[in-house]
Symmetry: C2
Subunit: 350 residues, 2 copies
DNA sequence: ACCATAAGTTCAGGAAATAAACAAATCAAC
DNA sequence: GTTGATTTGTTTATTTCCTGAACTTATGGT
């Protein structure tokens, strides 16, 4: 942070007194051992909500990203109704934790769509049918808590940066692999949202020119070949009875040519998109977060091979591609981390 | 900058006294008019050198990016020889400008290859046959001037941000279109170099899977289809006698099917790469800097159409794609701006 | 037991930002 | 014209906060 030893000493003392930091382990070396500091788990609490599924999950998260409680509420497309449902669900979520109630410093919402850079307004969401909805304001007025909203993939990226495996990586991209494909970039240690909030929308990059029509209006989007939904549909079109990647992998291992074809085509598309990501942005890590599916079979192998084969040979293998199976709570946890990030760092300047 | 009126007042006064800033025009409005400040052209001078051609151009630039003098020197692959040649060329370049000699605050070098984040070492350059060459140190020792080196496209991007049409754009990408294709990103107002210095290397993204072999070892790289060199070679392969884009455009306008084919293929490839750039990074502007060629004919039209057709329809037309014909001095001017940037902003922290 | 090494604290001195009052320059309205 | 509103830009006392240097603490090595 460019501060002297003395300044850090004072700031750390204050933050420990505030209950935000606490001393963890000591590290031995030459000389007096260092005492490591970390966020105090009970220093602050946040609520995260995912509007990606029905019923919508709500989680209570501590300052280390641990989930302390979990609730669900029905999904609605009406912002006012959503705010009311959240307000109703909060007491149950916080019940029995009076410190959490007192130190509840923020609320985050993850949704599919575009969000403005103030993380306050939903500019557009096809899934929710929204256009310029000031969701953060509506919720914070109803619930009396600082509220921030964010795109699903970007929320997961922030979560990985704050609490996950990307803590020490300055530049990385998260690919969220589910029914649809999302992506978000961290650049220079900060979330990069793009000039219109569209950075990372790799789902609709053209990966098979002239390929299958996409719901976006174009053809050959990555989403039409590599998403879970696309894989299911390709399997169906091939006349296969199985739907999930797991089943397809089993079939492929048995030598079913149609299953091999589907997994190859999907893995190839995703691998090419990741290769482009590496060539364009040279991230320090690519993290694929998937709720379902497997990346240790043919699909994953083809994906990795294609990714390696389509970057400058000099760079092949230089960018770690990690796959990370996550539970259904990623989105809600990601949402909570958006609130935590705003509490920690504050709103972005400019 | 997050500073109070009073603080700005004092800082501005000091900088004007130092000769770095000066008052330019006054702007009328309600109340007392504002006095705009700008860098004083004669507040600082920089030298820029391009190692991209033989003979290598050297320019003397003022603090507004204007070129005051120009020299050339033979190109060498030996860092020590280069340092010596620069030291020899400097007196001529500065002759007759004693203020420039006194206020020469930096020297920049543009080259084709990878540079580390301290802008001091050339990690690798195929063109120059280098591997981990501490060029900045070698030159600064010989010449006694603070020296910084940078990749060619990244240098042009910094130049556009400091002095060109991207002054007020926080997020943009520059595509340098020449014998080869280069690219660099500004993100959040800062040059983003990537984790290995490879951000923006779009030349070797696979744009025609299974296409022509590339000197990098892969196939179907953008460089094999859309660069000036590739266009010349495709024209030759089509049996056309003309080489330049200008001639091909003339032929295409006359109805020459082969010329149309070549321009279509190249424009399509560049357009698709730009579409990917928009989908992945959502920049506020894309600036194509070209020394030769034309973008107002078939080639440019196909490029723009393909770019528009391959981004999310919602975003089509939202990202300005500007083409900008530049003279041969861009690289040297860009190099000078790297030195200016380091004088203005200082080295990147972290 | 002693020294070297590094972590962490204390405190005086100083650099730099702020707030608030003030001065200056224009426009709009009467 | 004159007056008042409005906004820019400056001044100065005050406050905040950082640094440097000396000091204390805790460990490993010899």
């Amino acid at each position: 942070m460019g501060l002297s030893k003395a300044a850090m000493s004072g700031i750390a003392r204050d933050l420990i007194a505030l209950g935000v930091l606490h001393e963890t382990e000591t590290v031995q070396g030459q000389g007096r051992p260092s005492i490591l500091l970390d966020l105090h788990p009970e220093g602050a609490f946040f609520v995260g909500i995912s509007l990606l599924e029905d019923p919508a999950p709500l989680v209570l998260s501590d300052f280390n990203g641990n989930i302390l409680a979990r609730q669900t509420m029905p999904l609605s497309r009406d912002p006012g109704v959503i705010a009311g449902l959240i307000a109703d669900a909060l007491p149950k979520l916080l019940s029995g934790r009076k410190d959490a109630k007192r130190k509840l410093y923020g609320l985050g919402v993850a949704l599919s769509g575009f969000v403005d850079e103030r993380q306050a307004n939903c500019v557009q969401s096809t899934l929710l049918g929204w256009q310029d909805v000031p969701l953060a304001q509506i919720i914070s007025q109803k619930c009396g808590i600082d509220t921030f909203i964010e795109n699903d993939a970007k929320a997961v990226a922030v979560s990985e940066k704050l609490f996950g495996s990307a803590r020490d990586v300055q530049n990385f991209s998260v690919v969220s692999f589910d029914d649809g494909i999302g992506c978000a970039h961290f650049i220079g240690g900060k979330l990069y949202r793009g000039n219109h909030g569209g950075a990372g929308e790799i789902a609709h990059c053209t990966i098979e020119p002239g390929g299958s029509p996409c719901r976006c209006g174009k053809r050959g989007c990555l989403d039409t070949v590599a998403s879970l939904k696309a894989i299911r549909e390709m399997a169906k079109a091939e006349g296969l009875s199985c739907h999930s990647i797991e089943d397809l992998e089993t079939e492929a291992a048995r030598g079913n040519a149609a299953a091999v074809r589907v997994l190859h085509r999907a893995g190839n598309a995703l691998g090419l998109a990741i290769a482009h990501l590496i060539q364009f942005n040279d991230p320090g890590m690519i993290l694929i977060a998937h709720v379902e599916g497997r990346f240790d079979g043919l699909f994953g192998t083809v994906m990795r091979q294609t990714a390696e084969a389509n970057v400058l040979p000099r760079y092949a293998g230089q960018t770690p591609i990690r796959t990370h199976r996550v539970d259904r709570d990623v989105w809600a946890r990601g949402a909570a981390s958006i609130a935590a990030h705003n509490f920690l760092i504050g709103p972005t300047p400019n």
